[in-house]
Amino acid sequence: MRHAQMASSRGSVSIARRTLVAAAWAVATAVTVAFSAGVAAQGAPIKIGHSMAQTGPLGGGGKAALLGLQIWRDDVNARGGILGRKVELITYDDQSNPATTPGIYTKLLDVDKVDLLIAPYATNPTAPIMPLVKQRGLLLMGNFSFEVNENIQHDMWFNNAPWNDAVSWSQGFVEMGKKRGAKTIAFLAADGEFSQNLATGARNLSKHQGLTTVYDQKYPPNTADFSAMIRALKAAKPDIVFVASYPGESAGIVRAVNEIGVGEQVKIFGGGMVGLQFAPLMEGLGSQLNGIVNYNAYVPEKSMEYPGIKDFLTRYAVRAKAEKVDPLGYYLPPFNYAIGQILEAAITATKSLDQKVLAKYIRENEHKTIVGPISYGRTGEWKIGRVIMTQFTGIKDKDIEQFRQPGKQVILYPENLKTGELKFPFEKSRK
């Protein structure tokens, strides 16, 4: 009941927004343009179906991601749709649970008769639908999953995430440490699909680089406190500490590191900590984040000012506040918007909704999006990975707005996006 009311009020808000945008458009250009767009949009809508975690452990990220897609839909429809057809999103909650997605996606295909599919957020909910799309020969836009196409080898899969293989994650991190003379490395990784993949990549890379592993700990989900682990890690005296953790534990690890310390010799700390990209944790941890080097997808630095991103984030911030989702939205939302942009470009260019034609176009062209130009490699991952390594610098407590300025999360890697130098050793960089 309550939800129905919320949904309807949300609907009316976006309708109001849409008319507002349409009105502005009309004034800015010409009345005739708006008129013709309105007429053209009268065909049956293009249905795009997907599931998105709105509850469960992935719910926080999923809700923000969904808002990114919805903003794209509203933008497109305000412009009169694609090929004169409005875009309709059909969204279901998969509860972060891979057991729900096969049912949901067959419903999308067989009952809702959607034209196009987008994958759910994250690897686990995506894995069960890969055989389905391969068997039916469908185009699937991936949504921040990892190596999910490795065994399936579906050639119509396009994952929109800034990484491609396991090495692309940790390369920048390990190289930076190596360059500063590191000889030993410690690993702390959650016992989960994502973090274990990450840690495996980092382990191989560090072996390749000739680093000695002095501590390697796998911890179970829902660990209540990390003091004992951080102390044991400190006792091993590593030069680099690579952490692959989930949001639930990232905060606990950061705190324990602040309280107990990791030792003066540690040059760089962090790597693959999920959750430090999400506004509630960033705000909650505040100055405790300083010095941590961590992976990111997007940060508001000068080198990443792709066309359209600022405008998107401004509009996102307004709607995020109303819908109680991540107020910054740097991690998933712009990439979800970009998924929409890629589909839009493909449909517009090919004037088709044929899955094979679209897949061919996406495979063979470079796409201009608000997260930069994207082109795809053979396995349907980005041709060139772009996981950025950023260092938290000069963060104060209890201030969410500070993260909107450049210079707070300095990009250290890759070279072409670099906006600052690594401050090290770790303990010193925090002062």
Binding site: H3, Y92, A99, G103, N124, A127
Partner: protein
């Protein structure tokens, strides 16, 4: 009794005929995906009820049996590449053995202690699976489905049919137990175990029969999971949702008879499926919560009890009203 048996067989035949008709005419795969889930819950709830409803031993770790069934099947598939039928049998044998273990625990533990022991077992097995790399460990494992067997046109239809057979089998077993000496013995245990023991009911033997059958059926319900999802991963396989559903469905339907879990599973399972693809939000969790509270408060004996109460003649002013209604119907 004999009459009931005939009715039951006719019912089974009708269900099977419907299933064949469905498979022959419907091409929409979603129907089979959704029905599969509901049927899976029929097996799970029926299995739970054999121990929980008849004998009063509340298994809280149903998810462990379910998940281990899935993992046992996965091992058989990955290691020996044997077909689905063999996977299910092996999975059922394995979880049946686990059920035997649980049954031995029930020698010493009763009531809530027994339930907590089952939770502990679930967590221990989840930890073991999470640390076992052969089955994918924490990362999980993608599985490529083989071709469906001959009469079936798609693997989903085959899974649906297999699960339907298992559901019918589980219900038949539950019904047999309920009406036989086993069921009478189990009910005696539920009402008063000491007293039952004193009058010569072989309580240990009965409890072991119940835990083994219940465990084996739960494992069988989980066995096709890796093929259904083409993927398996410990967190979702051991999800508490299965444990809660396994207990909530019989309670909602009524625990005293084999029909209760079936009604509960069909009702709650269908509602969950429908909600997932309609309202689709946190309300999903809410509906389970509200239904649980509503039914245990309003219908303490489940839907079956409610129906029985409504049908039963009222005691006090009945003479007149009954006379009137019967007059009307005539």
């Amino acid at each position: 009794m004999h009459q009931g048996h005939k009715h039951f067989l006719i019912g089974c035949a009708i269900v099977l005929a419907l299933a064949f008709a469905l498979m022959a005419t419907v091409t929409n795969e979603y129907v089979f995906f959704a029905t599969y889930v509901v049927l899976q819950f029929v097996v799970l709830a029926t299995a739970w009820n054999i121990l929980g409803g008849y004998a009063g031993y509340v298994n809280f770790g149903s998810s462990a049996f379910f998940a281990l069934g899935g993992y046992a099947a996965l091992v058989i598939f990955k290691w020996l590449a044997l077909p689905l039928g063999v996977q299910i049998v092996v999975a059922a044998c394995f979880t049946g053995l686990l059920g035997l273990g649980i049954g031995l625990i029930s020698l010493r533990l009763r009531g809530i202690f027994f339930s907590i022991a089952t939770v502990a077992i679930a967590i221990i097995f989840e930890t073991v699976i999470t640390n076992w790399d052969f089955v994918g460990g924490a990362k999980g494992l993608q599985v490529l489905r083989p071709e469906p067997m001959v009469p079936f046109t798609s693997y989903t239809k085959m899974l649906f049919f297999v699960m339907l057979l298992m559901a019918l089998g589980a219900v038949a077993i539950a019904r047999y137990i309920e009406n036989s000496w086993i069921g009478r013995g189990l009910r005696a245990i539920r009402d008063n175990e000491e007293a039952a023991e004193c009058v010569g009911v072989p309580t240990l033997k009965l409890k072991l029969i119940a835990t083994v059958i219940s465990g084996a059926l739960m494992g069988a319900a989980g066995a096709p999971l890796p093929m259904y999802l083409s993927f398996i991963e410990p967190v979702s396989a051991f999800s508490m949702n299965y444990s809660v559903s396994a207990l909530a469905m019989p309670i909602i339907g009524g625990t005293s008879s084999w029909l209760g879990p079936v009604i509960g599973a069909v009702l709650l399972g269908t509602v969950q499926q429908v909600v997932t693809v309609t309202i689709s939000s946190e309300l999903n969790v809410l509906i389970v919560g509200v239904l649980l509270v509503f039914f245990v408060v309003v219908a303490p004996e489940g839907i079956l009890g409610l129906v029985r109460k409504l049908r039963a003649p009222k005691v006090q002013p009945t003479g007149q009203t009954r006379g009137q209604t019967s007059a009307q119907t005539k």
